[in-house]
Symmetry: C2
């Protein structure tokens, strides 16, 4: 190796596009290819600028098209024509976003929420009775969980389902306006039936006792008659125009004492006998609730994948255009620069490319875990909890990243980026709601943080005295180092003035891992310390203390997600054997890691993890890394494997290159001709030097 | 004063809403009130979800409504029924954004670009001939500057206007497809005429000499005949659906040797005599170009104000909803918390409120400068340049801030934020293009940076040897301090463990000013040092060196803008006499300053301006500040002075409060009754303790 210590050679870097495409398609490559072929069909493509009525009609028709294409059955049991294939189902479903996010979400409502609730919360009897109609779309349905007054806090829903033993029915009620079911896909126009979430109230166990609230349960419910009119007692509203996804008919339900048979309770985790006796396999009402809700994790997983697909489309558009579009003539040659040659443009797009890759690899792990749990291959309580925590960490990062990337891509294309024909604004508008539905991103991050805090607490509950004292010693040492800036000072001495040595430090995977891990760990320790001081105080004071640290606690959850993405990217690198591809992808992994560290560099400085001397070199080093990746950016986005039918952007069509070449050719010919105008500036210079 | 050194009393803090509203309305308060009254009229309000054709028709009608309301004449000369009132004109124009951004932009095209080009670039003859039709909208027009191939780089436009002395006409041509005029408001449907920007080519000064390119000039041009058909030689295209602003009919022009009279050159800064002789009052072609383009600065100024108005609407919606909406029951009382009581919610909204105020005060200064220049009160070259630099610094900050604030506000309202009835998504979609039109934000920031660098160079060109050596000595000292972390270490000794002393340091205006100023200054010095090393190298190498530092150079421009906003906020505080209002507004100024410093805290740490000990206390201090402002947040947004007719958001209507109160009342009554269900969890606890 002739590679110097100070600067890597870049000559052998080259992306094997086919190999990278295969890696990115992942475990469900074949399913993704099949689903992409469906999404390439123009019948499924979004038409811009139509009314919501036309859009809704088009998307409903597309859903029937999906049924015909055999695209929606994968997750359902084999006995109903399905494949019991859960990971594959999500992978296929994600790919639909390139056709039209409304199509993705409406099919998600029908089969991923409404159908999945029957599948996961219902008994075999429910499956036999309801799944066939759900699967073939003869029964479109809504998933009636959210209420106007309660979104994230599902446990506090206001709708009630009170059991009446005299008729063996449940009576569903909307007791006050805030309990109106709202934002329900399929509700405004199409849903015939629905799964309704309500507080289950059963009679008191003994004569004269108050009724008992068993917590939120799911009920199958008919909503409209055969003619499409609301059934008696059901009032339906239309949510109307939205910021995006206008192909989905979101709407509202209120219930005025409607009665449903006892057997319509989806009773897998809790049942009511004819006499009103309640039974459940899970004794703790809290755990029972989280188990029921937990079956819906696949929504979060699929939004993550869809958000990444949309990010990829955005990057394809902006990077392709950035390689063709010319603007300004900085270097005084005859041709203007292509945008991708500007450092700022590289800085805007390449770290986002790196994050997209990191998140894609993390998503692949998430999907594998989902498949393990839902297929039964590894369906332990612990694995379910890990799946939920992982989804709660990655969904926020991926969905916010999609909005950020689509926006940066749109701005990087200037006015062209704003045209509907280039889809950035349309995708962004449709994906906007992804950051707050299926779990508000900030609420999910808070769940992750609470999990981190309780894991930390558990670690010490079971630790022996030796472990604890070793740990405390380490901590104390760390605090001492930090307090006196010794660790930092030590780095300074080593680093003074040597930017290259510093870069060599930052590019070591162990250093990156340590920095990212250390941050999560220390943030959790710090937060736990703050919370411990209130541990024995009344609940209201505990809550106040938690609230006073909410901002930093959520910061810890984000740091955890950063680490998860880094780990996934680093593991993926191990699968790459081609050295040229590995080199470019390693740079991108480094860009991901170092951008995250740059973003939170103040923390590393304050906590003595990075010296000021070393920190100073970080930004210039990232600048050099993005410049190194720049010649390969097009190959990477090409390796996403989308075809023109998926991309459908004028900016990515090659038209810009053609226009630029025509302009260059025009000026070349003009210069060669005798009629070329002389620039007045040139003339003035000649006159001045002549006089 | 009983106020302790360590914690401010908060009891006397109170916002005098009327006083604050007056302060925020600023110098053109009366004009703003008149324009808000116009904007409150339902005929001007955006209707969501209609097709672009219906929207375009509606907005054209609205423009006629504005003429009737006397809302568009302010900037024009008195002799044509105007008022020669430039600041007032922009203030009035900005306020229209609350009605419909399409209305604002289409009227901006007609009167602020098309009309203003005739006014500022044309002669009195042009005024007399063209302004009346422009003002009364009998002649809708386009402003044909941008081309598909050239947006930001106007000097390189491809369209040519070649003078033909034999017929005394200019021949306009689109020499290649990339020179097609594009994204022109009014072009697709309504424009009868246009101002076209083209390279002016005049004959060689002597027989047989090559023609001369005089650079980009503006030409008045007829586009459509009375029936609305394109005139011969003009081809018109429709840009179609866009990401927003679909009430504006953006379109395209290509010219195939169309001929216009010699007198159609808007000749204020450059004229062509009948024989083809070119004359200009500005000898330098470069300065001439920038003078012509400089007259268009008002577009940037007005977008800044409109973006702030939209930010205010977003904050009104989110903060009002945050004060009414309840979710989760953290403190275990019977009522759930309102969202604004969550620290994270305060952190999401209150710093954005602070920035909105800072930018509003900076905008007011910008508007005053614009009025000084355009009214002739202070129309020096230097003041024009200052106006341009100021606009180039503030427009990017304000427009990006609007998108960021509208998005955060939408997310802070969850699903409700996504409904068109709450306008966040609609305003955000419409304002998206503000960040790249009328000067791409990054290109503008680069202009600012270049100005900072040249000011810095000029400072030393004229400095005597003494000044220079004193300066170098200061710098050297600063470097030594920085290199060995002495200044930082000194702070550490003072600060160790004393968070409150540290907070007292951060809240001093002099400290804030020093920190913000020092950052701009040092960043410029650092960048200048890097660029100086290439100063004597060939142009291509100089350009490469500049490009290698583009990211940090643009960082310096942003730091400069941060300082401008801080200065404006601090000056505004001096005008507040009411102590309660002053206290709250001072907290908000501090939040603005400290949020900016927090955002770039790594720089302050690396460069030894803030010690690690002190830096550690910054985030908790901001947390305390936002909590202090929290009880006053509603008063502040109320003081923006918008009425229900401007706000038009369900989330701000009080409906949420009503729903929450109904729910609370329902549960209160239920608890008081004998039929209240007992929670299964409670029952389980009772059983366990009983057995």
């Amino acid at each position: 190796m002739t590679e110097s210590l100070t600067e890597e050679t870049t000559t052998d870097a080259a992306v094997d596009k086919e190999l990278l495409e295969k890696l990115l398609l992942g475990r469900w490559a074949e399913t993704r290819r099949v689903s992409r072929a469906v999404a390439a069909d123009p019948q499924f493509h979004k038409v811009e600028g139509i009314t919501k009525e036309d859009h809704r009609e088009r998307v409903l028709k597309q859903l029937h098209g999906l049924v015909e294409a055999g695209a929606v059955q994968r997750a359902f049991p084999e006995e109903f024509g399905g494949q019991d294939a859960h990971g594959a189902n999500i992978a296929a479903f994600e790919e639909l976003v390139t056709a039209d996010p409304s199509l993705q979400i409406k099919s998600g409502v029908q089969w991923g929420l409404f159908g999945a609730a029957v599948l996961h919360l219902g008994s075999e009897e429910h499956h036999a009775r309801f799944l066939p109609g759900i699967m073939d779309l003869s029964v479109p349905g809504a998933f009636a969980m959210t209420e106007i007054g309660h979104g994230s806090d599902v446990a506090s829903l206001g709708t009630t389902a009170t059991y009446d033993p005299t008729t063996e029915e449940f009576v569903l009620n909307t007791p006050f306006p805030a309990a109106t079911k709202r934002y329900l896909g399929n509700a405004a126009v199409d849903a015939k039936d629905a799964v309704v979430f309500a507080q289950l109230i059963t009679p008191g166990e003994e004569e004269g006792q108050a009724p008992i609230n068993r917590g939120v349960h799911a009920f199958y419910c008919h909503i409209r008659d055969e003619q499409g009119n609301p059934l008696p007692g059901v009032t339906i509203g239309d949510d109307g125009q939205k910021g995006g996804l206008n192909g989905v008919d979101n709407g509202q339900f209120t219930f005025d004492s409607i009665r449903i048979p006892r057997t319509y309770l989806l009773n897998r985790y809790g049942d009511v006998a004819a006499d009103g006796t309640y039974t459940s396999s899970i004794e703790s009402p809290g755990r029972r609730f989280f188990t029921m809700i937990g079956t819906l994790v696949q929504g979060r997983v699929s939004l993550t994948g869809a958000a990444l697909a949309a990010s990829k489309l955005g990057l394809i558009g902006a990077i392709t255009y950035g390689n063709q579009r010319r603007q300004f003539n900085a270097s005084s040659t005859t041709e203007e620069e292509v945008l991708m040659d500007y450092q700022l443009h590289q800085r805007r797009l390449i770290p986002r490319l790196a994050t997209t890759l990191a998140a894609s690899f993390a998503h692949e792990k998430l999907l594998t875990k989902l498949d393990d749990v839902f297929s039964g291959a590894d369906d332990s309580d612990q694995n379910r909890q890990e799946l939920e925590t992982l989804a709660a960490a990655i969904k926020p990062i991926a969905t916010w990243h999609a909005l950020d990337t689509l926006q940066e891509a749109r701005e990087a294309c200037g006015g062209a980026g704003f045209m509907a024909e280039n889809r950035f604004t349309s995708l962004r508008a449709d994906l906007d709601i992804y950051v707050t539905f299926e779990g508000d991103n900030n609420v999910l991050l808070q769940l992750v943080a609470k999990r981190l805090l309780s894991d930390y607490a558990a670690e010490f509950k079971n630790a022996d005295a030796g472990a604890l004292s070793r740990y405390v010693a380490t901590q104390a040492q760390s605090t001492v180092l930090h307090r006196f800036g010794l660790r930092r000072a030590f780095q300074s001495v080593q680093d003074t003035g040597d930017e290259r040595r510093s870069a060599n430090w930052f590019k070591q995977p162990d250093v990156q891992r340590d920095l990212l891990t250390d941050r999560v760990r220390q943030m959790v320790i710090d937060a736990a310390g703050e919370l411990r001081s209130a541990a024995k105080k009344p609940a209201a004071e505990q809550a106040a203390t938690f609230n006073e640290h909410q901002y930093e606690i959520i910061g810890a959850a984000k740091a955890h997600a950063d680490l998860l993405l880094w780990e996934a990217f680093t593991e993926a690198l191990e699968e790459i054997e081609d050295p040229g591809t590995k080199k470019v992808m390693t740079w991108l992994r480094d860009i991901y890691a170092l951008s995250r560290i740059e973003e939170t560099l103040d923390w590393y400085l304050i906590n003595g993890r990075v010296s000021a001397q070393r920190a100073k070199t970080l930004s210039p080093y990232i600048n050099r890394l993005v410049a190194r990746v720049r010649p390969h950016a097009q190959d990477i986005v090409d390796a996403f494997g989308y075809t023109d039918e998926h991309i459908r952007m004028e900016v990515a069509s090659g038209a810009e290159r053609e226009r630029q070449e025509e302009a260059i050719e025009h000026y070349r010919r003009l210069r060669a001709s005798s009629s070329a105008p002389v620039d007045e500036k040139v003339l003035l210079k000649q006159k001045r030097s002549g006089s």
